[in-house]
Symmetry: C2
Subunit: 80 residues, 2 copies
């Protein structure tokens, strides 16, 4: 059993209003040291697989089929 | 300059319909090996600070003030 994190973010050039607004709000609250904020979606899942390679392969399939929209999203897969 | 990831999740006992629905959809699509899905929010930010300790302190303040609702959310801070 593996614990996998899938981070789904926006591709470069796709606007990220949530990140931009969070940044603006942080600045208004006095956190001027924050230089950039990006907003991402994180899925943390438990998955049964024989190996890490097999798990990555299956998670990539999940990303293609349902977790991301490849037109606008990028994704990163990490093991905990 | 540090790159910090803030992972905002739901406390134990708080229902996570997005995670549950993602899990259900994955099962319906044939990914029966997935045993649990949790949905979290991820903020990736660049922050200027003199030290990691100082950065953590400031990010904790941001979490208290705007990034999380401490009644229902937990958060994790990680450096990239």
């Amino acid at each position: 059993m593996f614990t996998v994190e899938v981070k789904v973010g926006l591709k470069k050039g796709v606007s990220d209003p949530e990140g931009a607004n969070t940044h603006k709000s942080l600045e208004l609250l006095g956190f001027g040291e924050v230089k950039e904020v990006k907003s991402l979606k994180l899925y943390r899942m438990h998955i049964e697989a024989d190996s890490k390679e097999e798990a990555v392969k299956r998670v990539e399939e999940m990303c293609m089929k349902i977790l991301t929209n490849p037109v606008i999203h990028t994704h990163e897969i990490e093991f905990l």
